[in-house]
Amino acid sequence: MLFLVFEIGDERYCLEVSRIIEITPMVIFKKIPHAPAYVSGLFNYRGTIVPVIDLSILIAGKPSRPLFSTRIILVDYVSEDKVHHILGLLAERATETISCREEDFQPPGIEVDEAQYLGDVVFDESGMIQRVRIEKLPPENIRDYQQEYEFVALKENNDFLP
C-alpha cells in the first residue's frame, strides 16, 4: 500500500493514498468567522466548496508555514451516515510517498480521547511515522461546512494542474 508522508513540526505522519482525491498547492482561503482555530477556511475545488483543516494547528497547535511544500491534501471523508464529503487537509512537506503493508503498522499502545484520529505507527530508516485516521478526523461541527461528494476511484485526473 502507498502512503503520503508529511510533516507537522519535526514529526512525520502519513495518509493512505487510496483515500486521497488530489494534492493541490496552497491557495488563499475564505475565512470563517467564529470557527475553531484549526479551521483555515473554505476554498473552491472545481466548483465544490471544501473546508480546510490545518493539521499543524490541530496536532501541534501552530499554523503551517507558507512554504512551496505546504500543500492541500483533498481526502474522501465518509461521515457516520455513509455520506462522502471532500475535506481539505493543510500540511507541510507533503512531497514524499512511502510504500508499506498493512501488517507493518503497530499500535502505539496508548490512545488519547482528544486525538483519536492518530492511529498505528510504522517506522523506516528515518524514524517513526504515525498514521492519521481520516474517518476519525474532523470534529462533528465541521460537517455543516461540507458538501456531499461522490467519491469515484480513478476519476479523470487530467485537469489537476492549476
Partner: protein, 706 residues
Amino acid sequence: MKKYFNRLKILHKIIISGLIFALPICILLYYMISGFNNNIDFARMEIWGSRLLTPLTRLAELIPEHQLLVRLYLQGDTFAQEKIDVSTKKIDESFAILIAEGKKYEKVLRIDEKSLKAREMEKIHYSKVYKIWQELNKNCKNNSTVQNDIEHEMVLQPIQALIKRLGDTSNMVLDPDLDSLYMMDVAIVTMPKTLGKLSEFLLFGESVIFKGFRSREDIVKFSVFAAMMEEDLERVRQNIATALREDKNYYGSSNSLQANMPPSLSQYESFVTPFLVVLKRFANDPDSRISVAEFLEPARTLLEAGAQLREVSLQELQILLSKRIDNFSNKKLIALSLSLIALILAAIIILIISRGITRSLGKVIDIAGEIAAGNLQQAVESLETMGKSGFNLSNKAEHHTGQNKNEIVQLFQAISTMTSGLDALLTQVRKSGIQVTSSSTQIAAAARQLEATVAEQASSINEVSATSKEISATAQEFAKTMNRVAEMSSRAADLASASMTSLSDINATMKILLENTTESFGKLRTVDEKMGNITQVITTITKVANQINLLSLNAAIEAEKAGEYGTGFSVVAREIRRLADQTAVAAIDIEVLIIETQGAMKEGMSAVETYTDQTMTSTEKIAEISVDLLMAIEHTQELAPQFESANQGMQVQSQSAAQISEAMGQLNESAKQTRDSLVEFKGVTEQLNEAVRDLQNEVARFSISS
C-alpha cells in the same frame, strides 16, 4: 554604804527609817523622863531633908529649954527636976528619930562623916552631937550654971550648923514652887529661928527676973525682942498668906493646907499677943514686978504653939512635896505610856504600809516579769483581774477619784497604760517590721535591678565609648579619605580638562565615521537589489520544480488508484518526482540562501541605518556631554576648597568624638563607682533586712493581743 542601802528591801528600809526617827524621840523621852525624875528626886530630897530637919529643929528648941530647966534646977527650983526628966526624954526621942532618919538619908543629903570631913565639918555629925548630949545629960546636975551653959552651947551649935547644912544640901532653899517655898520658909527658916531666939530670950529674961532689977540695957533688949517677935510674926503671917494664895496655882490646891494652916496660925498669934503684952509691960513700966512663973508661963505656951505651927507647916510642906512627887510620877507614867503607845502604833502602821507596798509591788513585779518574759496577753489579763478585785484601774475611776488616788493605784494605772501602750507599740512595730522587711526586700530587689541596670549602662557606655572611638577613628579616616578625595578631585579636574580635548577629537572622528557609514549603506542597497534579481530566477526554478513534484505525486496517487494497471506509470511518476525533487531541493537551498542573505542584508541595512542615526545622536550627545563636562570640571575645580573646609570639619568632629570618648570613659568610671555603691547599698539593705528580722524576732517574743 549607799549600795548596801539600795540592796535592802522596802520593809527593811522603812524599819531603818523608823528606827532613825525613833532614836531622837527616845533620847527626848529619856531626857523628859530624867527631867521628871530629877524633879521627883528634888522633891524627895526636900522631903528627906524636912524629915531630918524635924528632929533637928525640935532639938534646937529642946536644948535651950533643957538648959533653962537645968539652970532653974540649980537655982533650987524643985519642980524643975521632973521637967528636966521630961525634957531629957523628949531630947532622947528626938535624937533617936534623928539617928534613925540620919542613917537612912545621910549619904543622899551629904551629911555623912566622909562628906562632912571633906568640908572640915566632921564635928557636926549627929552621932558626935549625940555623944556630947549624953555627956551633958550625965553631968548637968553636978556642973555649975556657967559650965552647963557652955556645954549646952556645944550641943546647940552643931545642931544649928547641921540644920544650915541640911537646908543647903536638901535644896529646900531652891524650891521652885511658891507655895512650898513659903511653907518651907515658915517651917524651916522663920519659925525655928523665932523659936530658937525665943528660947534664948527666955533664958535671958529668966536671968533678968531672977536678978531682981532691970538695967537700961535689959529694957532695950526686951523692947527689941518684942519688936523682933512682931516682925517675925508678920513675916510668918505673910508667908502663910502667900502660900495659901499661890497654893492653887501649883498642882491644885491642897485641902489640908487650906484647912490646917489658918487655925494653927491664929492659935500662934493668940499666944504671941499676951506674951508681947508681958514683954511690953516689962519694958515700958520699970516698976512692974513680974515673977518668973508669970514670965515663963505665956512664953512656954507660946513655944508650944510655935512648935505646933512649925510641925503643922512642916507636915503640910511634906504633903505639898509628896503631891508634887505624885504629880511628876503621874506625868512620867503618862508620858512613858503615851510614848510607848505611839511607838507601837507607828510600828504597826509601818508594818501595814510596808506590807501593802510589798504586796502591791510584788504584783507589779509579777506583771512586769510577765511583760519582760513577753507574755503581754497574760499581763493584760492579770491587770484586768486586779482591776476587778479592787484596784480602780479604769480611766473613768481615775477621773472620779481625782487627786485622792494612791501611788500604788497610780502605779497600776501607769503599768496598765504602759502595757496597753506597749501592746499597741508592739503591734505597730510588728506591722512596721513586716512593712520594712517588704520595703527593704523591694529596695534590695530594686537595688539588684538598679545594679543590673548600671552594669548594663556601664556596658552600654563601654559600647558607646568604643563606638565613639570608632567614630573618632572613622572621622580621622574619613578626614584622610577626604584629603585623598580632594587630591583626586583636583586630579579629576586636570583629567577632565584633558578629556575635553579628547572629546573634540572624538567628535571629529564620529563625523568621519558617519560619512563612511552612509557610504556603506548605499553599497549595501545595490547588493540588495542584485540579490532580488537572483531570487526571482531561483523562485521561478523552484516553482517549476514544485509543480513537477506535485504532478508526480498526483500521478502516483492516480497510479495507485489504477491498481496493477498503473504500476508502470507509478514508476515513471516516481522518477519524475525524484528529478523534480533534486531540482527543487537545489532551488530551495538557493532560495533559502538568498532569502537568508536578503534578510541579512535587510537587517544589516536597517542596522546600518540605526547605527547612522545612533552615530548622529551620539555626536550630538557628545557635544552636549562636552558642555556638561566643562561645567563639571568647573564645579570640580570649585569643589577642592570645599573639600578642604569639610576636611577641617571632619578633623574637628574627630576631636569632638575623642572628647566624647574621654567623657564616656569618665562616665564609665562613674558607672563603676555607682555599681560599687550599689553593691554596698545592697549590703546595707541586707543588713537592714537582718536588723528588721532580728527586731521581728524580738517582737515575736511578746504575745500581743491581736
